[in-house]
């Protein structure tokens, strides 16, 4: 890491109407370094990125210096040509086009270019893949690659446009641990080749691992920039929330040995998972942790009747069940909060209040024609908003208007309304900020204390330790060891997950 500065931006502010998105923020990114950027949802991270990439014009008075040139604002094309490139969280790639074309797409926006030069695509793609030290078949269609490989192609595209500053927005969100490690290796190498990286992530441990310096935003203000050596997860959390946040264990102890509510014996679904033996009792939270893609989601879907098992025995309250449909699962008192709330958990275009009663329409209906009772609905919505501290404008607003954390609370709350006996939570705090996380943990503890059995699927060691009674590790489609959450530390559990993985 050199001491020369690549990007120096001062007095960046942005107001939308009366709302402050960003106020007097400074940021300085050194050459050949990785600069972490953290902050809760709505802290101004994306506004900052949009100003740096020229998508948003800052308020007058801003001063941006990039590679020795001064700007009071950047135009998107300017930022692009100067070498500021973004790899968006959704990658912004073209799945039906080839690897080569995805990388070489920059030639399409060159002035006056009418014809496509396919040789140039390939040459350019090859050279930027080489620079990254990876190799793909250039003619492969992008959607035939894994998410991690697609991301490498996205980085290659940025390099092909001669990126000097590479902004990575939540790059690890859909990668497995192994892929994350690989990505970090590649990012480190890039810094040695004259590229600086602005690394934005919710996962503080990752920011701490790669970030040479870390800038913390809160409520549109820059709180601090710290060196990696001085930073710790705890310190960053404090800076981000402004208060000392330590997730506490809110879960009460289990009273005594209870009969399991749900029990799985040698349950398998061909190609998805096998030899699954597990149980969970009333009032108990069973945490399942493992590298992403180890079969947790498939298991969850099976428990919710979406993918019936191909063999094995499942009992609920001692009775054998088949779980062949969602209707059956719901009748048995099973609820499921899917990991992707945006596509599976919410009807984004519908009002908040309608979303909240979606799982229990029958319960809200009355009269001859089985119409939804507005009084009942209103009563439930008011209670839910109150109980779970959901921050909404009006109940009639669309669900899409809410922040990630509040959306997630709605997904959970709508299940709670049917009072399931067993609730499956699949990565419930994925992509939500710290305060919302804590709220969700509180909710889990409450539900468990009311006697609900909960299966908590997560890839965060701290989360399962604090919020479950027992922990099972899932790896390559099967549940392995069982651990007691009171006897294991975060590091230890994390190592256990990794070690399990390496053993094969």
């Amino acid at each position: 890491m050199s001491e020369d500065v690549l990007l120096e931006a001062e007095d960046l502010s942005k107001y939308y109407g009366g709302v402050t998105a960003l106020e007097d923020v400074d940021i300085s990114i050194k050459e050949n370094s990785i600069h972490g950027l953290v902050g809760e949802n709505g802290s101004g991270k994306s506004t900052l990125v949009k100003i740096i990439t020229g998508v948003v014009t800052p308020e007058p008075g801003a001063d941006i210096n990039f590679r020795g040139d001064n700007f009071s604002e950047l135009k998107p094309v300017e930022a692009f040509q100067k070498g500021i490139q973004v790899v968006h969280q959704d990658l912004s790639m073209f799945s039906n086009l080839s690897v080569a074309e995805n990388i070489g797409m920059g030639q399409y926006i060159e002035q006056g270019r009418i014809l496509v030069n396919w040789d140039e695509h390939k040459k350019q793609a090859q050279s930027s893949l080489d620079r990254l030290g990876v190799s793909f078949d250039l003619d492969t269609k992008l959607d035939e690659l894994s998410k991690a490989d697609q991301q490498l192609v996205a980085i290659s595209r940025a390099l092909a446009s001669d990126a000097k500053l590479l902004i990575m927005d939540e790059p690890t969100a859909s990668l497995t641990q192994e892929e994350v490690n690989e990505l970090f290796g590649i990012l480190e190498e890039l810094t040695e080749k004259g590229v600086s990286i602005l690394f934005i992530s919710h996962r503080l441990e990752e920011v701490l691992e790669v970030g040479d310096e870390i800038t913390v935003l809160r409520d549109g203000n820059k709180i601090s920039t710290v060196n990696r050596e001085e930073a710790s997860k705890k310190k960053l959390s404090q800076l981000m929330t402004g208060e000392k946040v330590q997730f506490q264990r809110r879960l009460g102890e289990l009273e005594s040995e209870k009969q399991p509510l749900l029990k799985l014996d040698e349950v398998a679904r061909k190609g998805d998972f096998e030899d699954v033996n597990m149980s969970v009792a009333e009032g108990e939270v069973l945490g399942i942790i493992g590298p992403l893609g180890s079969g947790q989601t498939k298991l969850a879907r099976t428990l919710f009747g979406m993918n019936p098992p191909t063999s094995g025995k499942i009992t609920i309250g001692g009775e054998k069940v088949r779980l062949e449909s969602i209707e059956e699962a719901m009748e048995l008192g099973i609820g499921y909060v899917p990991e992707d709330r945006l596509t599976q958990g919410l009807v984004l275009d519908q009002p908040i209040n309608d979303n909240l009663i979606l799982t229990d329409l029958d319960g809200f209906s009355e009269g001859l024609f089985n119409l939804i009772s507005e009084t009942k609905q209103k009563r439930f919505v008011d209670t839910a908003v109150d109980t779970y501290d959901i921050k909404i404008g009006k109940p009639e607003d669309k669900a899409i208007s809410l922040s990630g954390g509040n959306q997630q609370k709605i997904v959970v709350a709508k299940w709670v309304s049917v009072e399931p006996k067993l609730l499956i939570l699949n990565r419930p705090t994925h992509g939500v900020d710290i305060a919302a996380k804590d709220n969700i943990y509180k909710l889990i503890a409450d539900l468990a204390s009311q006697g609900m059995a909960i299966v908590l699927i997560s890839d965060e060691a701290e989360e399962v330790i604090n919020n479950s009674h027992r922990i099972r590790i899932m790896k390559e489609g099967t549940l392995t060891q069982e651990l007691s959450s009171s006897e294991i530390g975060e590091e230890e559990l994390y190592e256990a997950v990794m070690e399990e993985k390496n053993r094969v």
């Binding site: 094309v77 973004v86 968006h88 790639m93 073209f94 399409y108 270019r113």
Partner: protein, 326 residues
């Protein structure tokens, strides 16, 4: 080889071949030159429209108004040719301009409102066609000028047959061929064409890559309009008369051919080869049914079945590939 097996064009080609073999066994008339020359000529109109629709689908849009565009363009040409000057160049220039204008109007409305293109073009289909019927009074145009008739009856290839009439290939097929070459060139060799694929694939990403969504939308619908105009000329040349209600109603035939050819209604996928094969597949199935003397009611059934089979197979293939990649 495995690359070829992944391509949908391969399977459509296979289907064309299979149907072709079955039909030529069942009905010797099928494989004659005269039948094929007729088949190509009769499908020039649909074939050209299908290429326009392909460009639209690739870009992530859809257009069902082009039959009205073709009708209007054809009719205005007919009026100019019969009432003012019978110039053969005007016979192409006028429908081209009318087509581009109506297509561009579609594009502007679609872009400005953000309303799904299918809704907008259903509206403009009715708007264009309704206004047209009102203004034309539904009158046919018979007396197309000599120059136009001569053009329409020109043959580019005449092959003498032993003991029979010689068979000839109409010049109209040449226009189809021209449209094939131009469309292929645009989609595969120009930056505009590649941007259209990109936009149809992921519009947000295309915006971020710095592409002008408006210009691309304008291009695709104008090009469709242009081809609709030319197709209108082809249809008039083929029938030698302009009949106001001859074209509207065939939108779904065109869409069917393009979809059978492997284009996706979700955008970003489709090829010229596939589209041509799609048109030919539909054409030989219908042609075969006619030759076999099957009632024309069954033609729709056959079309419907083919679309279903293609769509189901494509979905299965995608699902399998998804399963493999995860």
């Amino acid at each position: 080889m495995t690359q070829i097996l992944k391509k949908s064009e391969f399977y459509i080609g296979l289907a064309v071949l299979l149907f072709g073999i079955v039909l030529s066994i069942m009905e010797p008339q099928f494989l004659t030159l005269s039948n094929w020359f007729d088949l190509l000529r009769n499908n020039t109109f649909l074939g050209i429209l299908a290429l326009g629709e392909l460009v639209i689908l690739v870009s992530g849009g859809i257009d069902v108004s082009f039959t009205a565009t073709a009708t209007v363009a054809q009719y205005i040409m007919g009026i100019v040719l019969t009432k003012f000057i019978g110039n053969i160049f005007l016979a192409f220039l006028i429908p081209g301009i009318v087509g581009v204008s109506l297509g561009a109007f579609n594009a502007v409305i679609i872009y400005l409102t953000g309303v799904p293109a299918v809704v907008i073009t259903i509206a403009t289909l009715n708007l264009y066609y309704g206004l047209f019927q009102f203004l034309s009074g539904g009158e046919w145009i018979y007396n197309l000028p000599e120059s136009f008739r001569n053009m329409a009856q020109t043959n580019i290839l005449t092959i003498p047959q032993e003991g029979g009439w010689p068979v000839s290939l109409s010049i109209l097929v040449l226009f189809w061929l021209g449209a094939i070459v131009v469309t292929w060139f645009i989609l595969n060799r120009t930056t505009v064409g590649r941007k259209l694929y990109a936009m149809g694939d992921n519009q947000e990403a295309a915006k971020r890559a710095g592409f002008s969504i408006f210009k691309l939308t304008l291009f695709s619908y104008s090009y469709m309009g242009f081809l609709a105009g030319i197709a209108g000329v082809m249809q008039a040349a083929q029938t030698q008369v302009i009949q106001p209600n001859a074209i509207v109603g065939r939108e779904l035939d065109v869409l069917a051919a393009v979809i059978i050819g492997g284009a996706s209604v979700f955008g970003g996928r489709g090829s010229v080869l596939g589209t041509v094969l799609g048109v030919i597949l539909l054409a030989i199935v219908r042609n075969g049914l006619v030759l076999l003397g099957v009632s024309s009611y069954w033609h729709s059934v056959a079309t419907g079945l083919i679309i279903l089979i293609v769509v189901v197979l494509t979905a299965l293939q995608r699902r399998r590939r998804k399963a493999q990649s995860t």
